[in-house]
């Protein structure tokens, strides 16, 4: 649906890669909570990191719709791998939009090949949904800066080389007093917390970072001082399309697994797919996966056309993530007891789905955004 030949080809690459390289190791990655560096290296070579980076900056220069298609297909293979792609897309989008020529040359190419591992660092103990609680502070230090504070639940924190860190630079200026710093995470004063053990997406390495008198040069500042919050937020529309696509991929994987199993499993002398009760579960799954996909692609196309897309992106993220949780629960139901047993794909899908309702803005926050946009733009906006 809506896909040009180019998008179809991009999808084919992502789909084949997911089927042949990612999906076969998903069980193992989940069980061992392992960072699949070898897969990321291959993805880098295929141009799956930094999909939107323009051709003149060495990227494929593809649009948000292509990014969405890739995220869905990768996630069908394994959501953690897709989430790495999403994380890199956020960071490279920030760099492309706000980086200086020098910052781009320094970071873009090695981020795209997965040699440089990145982290997107917003959340703090007192600043989750509400970033006005941000405490991490960067004070002037000669021509540069000195960073103090800490972040939690940062994807890639245990393995990352470079963090894109939101910090206060003016304690009295609220959202206008925050800036983004590009921080070398292997330098003095940076400490990494232990890797968290999570319910799902367990191959994603998530943990805390603390900064104690971390010395930053002047060119660590990304974009304008005081615009950090707005810059971080400006890439979130695209980020939400990414997470929504990831949720669609999980839903699609659940649907495929459930349909397959229902045709094989026999009870009462029939394949269980013959029972209307099971058919209705499958039909609902298919309907909701498709509905979510359409919302996601419509949001992606709004971004690509330069239309106001915030509401569409929030609706897509909210709907698709709720869909993924509800419909993977149904997929477990179709599998019966097997669906509750480790090693069956749907058991993992159900666990992997839950976080999509939480990160990239919880679904309560998405409701707030949708309502705010409604009130601002009117019902037809």
């Amino acid at each position: 649906m809506f896909l040009s030949d180019i998008h179809e080809q991009v999808r084919e690459t992502a789909r084949q890669f997911a089927d042949e390289v990612i999906r076969p190791v998903a069980v193992e990655l989940d069980e061992q909570e392992r960072f699949p560096a070898e897969i990321y290296k291959e993805m880098g070579a295929l141009g799956l990191f930094g999909i939107g980076v323009p051709e003149e900056m060495g990227g494929p220069g593809l649009d948000t719709l292509a990014y969405s298609v890739v995220m869905e297909e990768l996630s069908r293979g394994y959501a953690s791998v897709a989430d790495q792609c999403g994380l890199v897309e956020l960071i490279t989008t920030l760099l492309v939009r706000h980086g200086t020529q020098e910052q781009r040359t320094r970071f873009l190419s090695t981020i795209m090949t997965a040699e440089t591992r990145v982290a997107y660092c917003l959340t703090e103990p007192e600043a989750g949904s509400d970033l006005s609680g941000l405490r991490t502070f960067a004070e002037r230090n000669g021509t540069g800066w000195k960073l103090n504070g800490g972040k939690i639940w940062i994807h890639n924190a245990p393995v990352a080389d470079v963090g894109f860190v939101l910090a206060r630079t003016d304690k009295n200026a609220g959202h206008r007093g925050m800036s983004i710093f590009i921080v070398d995470l292997n330098q003095k004063g940076v400490e990494r917390g232990p890797k968290e053990h999570k319910m799902g997406q367990r191959a994603s390495q998530v943990g805390a970072l603390t900064f104690t008198d971390v010395v930053l040069p002047a060119d660590a500042l990304l974009g304008e001082e005081g615009r950090g919050f707005h810059m971080m937020m400006s890439v979130l529309d695209k980020g939400r399309v990414g997470i929504a696509s990831l949720a669609v991929g999980i839903g699609q994987a659940g649907l495929e697994a459930a349909l397959d199993y229902a045709q094989q499993r026999r009870q009462f002398g029939n394949a269980i797919v013959e029972f209307q009760g099971v058919q209705w579960l499958l039909a609902e799954m298919a309907r909701d996966v498709e509905a979510a996909r359409l919302l996601v692609r419509s949001a992606a196309m709004k971004i690509d056309r330069g239309d106001e897309a915030t509401k569409a992106c929030s609706m897509a993220k909210w709907f698709a993530s709720d869909m993924a949780v509800a419909r993977t629960a149904d997929a477990v139901q179709v599998f019966g007891g097997s669906g509750y047993i480790r090693g069956f794909e749907v058991e993992r899908l159900y666990r992997d789905a839950k976080i999509t309702q939480i990160y990239e803005g919880t679904n309560q926050i998405q409701r707030m955004i949708v309502a705010r946009q409604l009130i601002k733009q009117g019902a037809r906006g």
């Binding site: 030949d5 080809q9 991009v10 084919e12 690459t13 084949q16 999909i51 051709e55 494929p60 593809l62």
Partner: protein, 249 residues
């Protein structure tokens, strides 16, 4: 040296094919199509020759309806340099395809033609051999290894009962087997670059070839459905069943 690679658009190898209810053929409506897997291997081999500095240009050609442009674009996205589409609505048969390829080869003068050993739709396994005969070039079929050395190709062939190594002088026709290589994925940057690569359109008439089918399909039917097996409780019972039931030992 130019390398010419013919590619065919076929029903994707993952699709469970269905025979049309009137028995006239396989139902291809709304079915996913993709490049014949053996042709992907041929494209890959040609690209490796180019990367090794042996080939100077990789040209892909496909014969069929306008839609075959898909597989040409895929080959370009894998890294081929340019494409030729010979458009016909007729059902393509090996002899007509071989004649057209002969015409293309005479125009392009490649040093090597690498073709799949067969297409997974009709499994004819004829085109490469016919083409070699029509051109009067040597052939090396079912290649599982290919090396180019001083005007010749050293080809390891998969034959019944083992491997055979032969040398053929160039220009030659080589057909590829499954174990030759594993084809690359089209990278996103290459997909974008492929948009700008040249694709030339031709017709069979340009090569003086009549593609009217010579073969008549009498009937197409599903293979017999495999009967359900039986479960045995012990080795003794298994041996007994093999003797009495299956008559295998």
């Amino acid at each position: 040296m130019k390398v010419l690679v013919p590619v065919k658009r076929v029903v994707d190898h993952n699709v469970k094919i269905r025979v049309k209810s009137d028995g006239s053929g396989v139902d291809v409506a709304n079915v996913k199509m993709s490049m014949n897997p053996f042709d992907e291997i041929s494209v890959e081999e040609a690209l490796r020759l180019k990367e090794a500095g042996v080939a100077s240009e990789v040209i892909v050609v496909s014969i069929g309806p306008a839609k075959v442009e898909d597989v040409l674009r895929t080959a370009l996205a894998m890294g081929a340099d340019r494409a030729i589409l010979v458009e016909t609505e007729d059902k393509t048969e090996p002899l007509a395809v071989a004649k057209i390829l002969k015409g293309v080869a005479e125009a392009e003068r490649p040093g090597l033609i690498i073709a799949g050993k067969q297409a997974i739709d009709d499994d004819s396994n004829q085109t490469g051999q016919m083409l070699s005969a029509l051109l009067g070039w040597p052939q090396a079929t079912f290649a599982s290894k290919l090396e180019i050395a001083e005007g010749a190709a050293i080809v390891t062939r998969e034959v019944d009962g083992g491997l055979q190594v032969i040398g053929v002088t160039l220009p030659a026709v080589v057909t590829t087997d499954l174990r030759l290589n594993s084809p690359r994925y089209a990278s996103l940057p290459n997909i974008m670059k492929a948009k700008k690569k040249p694709l030339e359109r031709k017709t069979p008439a340009d090569f003086g070839v009549d593609t009217t089918p010579r073969l008549k399909v009498l009937k197409t039917e599903e293979p017999e459905v495999r009967k359900a097996g039986i479960k045995v409780k012990s080795v003794a019972e298994l041996v007994e069943k093999l003797k009495t039931h299956a008559g295998l030992i």
